[in-house]
Amino acid sequence: MSFDPSSFRDPDARVLAGGGPDVLRALSQDAATLDARLRRAGVLAELERDGLLIASQRRDDQLAPQGWSAVLSAPRLPFVSYPYEWSFSMLQDAALLTLDLQARLLSHAATLKDASAFNVLFDGARPVFVDLGSLAERAGNAPWGAYGQFGDHFLAPLMLEAYRGIPFQPLWRGNLEGLPVRQLAPMLAPFGLLRGGVLTHVMLRAWLERRTQHLSVDARREVRAAPLAPQAVARNVAGLRALIAGLRSGASSAWATYDETNSYDPAAAERKMAFVRDACARLGGGRQAWDWGANTGRYSRLLAEHYATVVAMDADAGAVDRLYTSLRGTDAARRILPLVMDAMDPSPARGWRGTERLALAERGRPELVLSLALIHHLCLGRGVPLDQFLDFALQDAPHAVVEFIAAEDPMAQALLATKTVTHPGYDAAAFRHLAAQRGRVVAEAALSPTRQLLLLAR
């Protein structure tokens, strides 16, 4: 029996390798004892009911690996996503979920021993706390050991975007420990000093960390053993919750209002919808579809009527955030997972030995990929050759719906206005020819003199 390569940090719980419908975790003796206590007291059931923790079961039918005491199972979510792929509101909701869970655990003499953002996944557009191994017994009057990590993984990235308008995703992607608070401090000074929580959670913490980094081993032990009453820990958690709930993204978005401001003729938009709807019906739907350049999700919602999981990706974090918040409380939230993803630079494999966090293509096998109104951005805007765009459209799925947008189209012209390069070979005939070389054209439609749609089979 082997372990999942991304699960090695926690000595008390490890995810077992395998791709079945359930995720299996091995628990140490300590973790198994806590699990049994919380299960017996009905705490886990209550947390599951309130959406604070993924549903789980003890699996006594599974033999625990040597040296481990018990096996837990939890349903495998359809798609794994990472904090650097989330929009502001997604990271914020994951932070609030973590704090709400921590508050509840504190009242049951338990705690979260880590506050990694990777503990949370999204099931559609709903955050789910999946790392059952993060639960631990709360030792007496201990402060929250994971407070520092919470600051780096959640609070600092959110503050950076809220207070400085700087999107957090590139920084998060650059450091798998999030944005260390001590790095945020100089970014917020001096004008950010008066914003909520900055003086304490950022400046004071950065100063204390500087002052204590050369403490002796004895002094460190003494600090670790310093008592803090449970009520004070709970107050800190409540204070963090109020602070985070009040943050709003200060980043600007070029595309979040595209849906209202684009120059698309309504009849052409309706023909496009009908084409995608027909394509879904013809293919009979399925388990998973990807929508590249999803913007605010118009076509993702259509896909969600036919596919169990729709990964709606866009490079513009503002557009993704808008889609995410618009899904709250809707039925489609169960199926649509919005992600910040640039087709020019999809998430690579990351972390220890390059296997800890998976590259995008390793995380799902879509049956249909949509690339609508994307081609001019990639080919005209970023210089991707036409043949490579088609290879990209067909690389992950057996079927793809692709839209060709000619250089004369008003949206393409807007992109080209400041460019002097020409694009020989970028035309509808070449597109049709290259597409037919790569697959079978199952259906096609002209939306306008400058736009055409193809349904391709690999």
Binding site: R9, D10, P11, D12, T111, K113, D114, A115, S116, A136, E137, R138, A139, G140, N141, A142, P143, W144, G145, A146, Y147, G148, Q149, G151, T200, H201, L204, R205, A206, W207, L208, E209, R210, R211, T212, Q213, L215, A219, R220, E222, V223, R224, A225, A226, P227, L228, A229, A232, V233, R235, N236, G239
Partner: protein, 63 residues
Amino acid sequence: MIGVLGVPSTAFAYVDPSAGSILLQLLLGGVAGVLVALKLWWKRLSSWRSRRVAKTPPPSPSR
């Protein structure tokens, strides 16, 4: 003294909580927490001062 007041914690497990982030929690934790942090601070500070006063030469590095 702090050793007497404090209960050793096992909940920190494998995430390394920096001393700074623990001290901050104590400070945010209200009067009792501030007192604990001050005591720690004072103890550190006074031992540092007494070392300075004793003027013991630091051991030379053996590298």
